[in-house]
Symmetry: C2
Subunit: 153 residues, 2 copies
Amino acid sequence: MKDIESLTYDELLETFKTILKTNGLKFTAQREAILKTLYENPDHFTPENLYLLVKEKYPNLNTGITTVYRTLNLLEENKLATSLSFGSQGKKFELGNKPHHDHLICESCGKIIEFEDEQIEILQDKIAKRHDFKLTDHLMQLYGLCKNCQNKN
Amino acid sequence: MKDIESLTYDELLETFKTILKTNGLKFTAQREAILKTLYENPDHFTPENLYLLVKEKYPNLNTGITTVYRTLNLLEENKLATSLSFGSQGKKFELGNKPHHDHLICESCGKIIEFEDEQIEILQDKIAKRHDFKLTDHLMQLYGLCKNCQNKN
DNA sequence: CTGTGTGCAAACATTTTGCAAGCAG
DNA sequence: CTGCTTGCAAAATGTTTGCACACAG
């Protein structure tokens, strides 16, 4: 499978429909609305944020937050989305199955920058090997102040 | 200040008392019980786990989980403890102010192995610089299967 | 004594679950 | 039609707060 982030929306939608069919699940308007909202806003969402945005964009669907949670979990189980745990509480989700990218998080304004670094990947593999671990995933988050917020003070 | 993890318990206790005094706070039996339990069990605790262990070791103090939370937050604010956010929910705490160490986490048995790697630190600084970030902290967690759990299958 | 600390219960915040009605296939 | 899906309300977690009493300094 291609990386999710390089798919057009139609390709993504097809992938999603295939997953649903394979699992005997149904394609519904709410599920599509959530997928599309994630696709069109390449940010990191809390379930709450996403819920509000979906309600705003598709008010007639009257989507419940329960459905947002259920859909996000469904997407994550099928590798169409990824969740991140942050400092204090809550989770954030992003569309895509990006095994090799990490996050820089501004502690002042909350901005999240994604980055990739192959050398980090290589080092992680070495470390895992050193401890007899078979790696399945990793999480790296760098916290600090972004350029803007450094200047504010 | 020396690294927390190299302190004897008495030194740690003195550090804690100094912090309390400096902040006009009081040294209580519950706070000591929690600190001592953390010191004697160099593991990663959820507040719940720690609460149960403290209750078991010091049943007469009748420590409440509220106090455990409050004490952990107090320790964290004063850099005597660090908390980690994990996958789904909850936090884990560990004693110590260890700015430069990270975790390997077994997804099967939950075991946590700590490691340090200077090269990773160096790379992180480079990445931050590349994005004009001023780093204050970082979190790196590698998920996988430990040796034992690989063999189980 | 004074004011901080404590445990309890209640409040909160986030996420999950039970259920009856709705709708996709 | 069948049974998966939905929204709602309620439950389940994990964490914080209000309060009256306890106790450290």
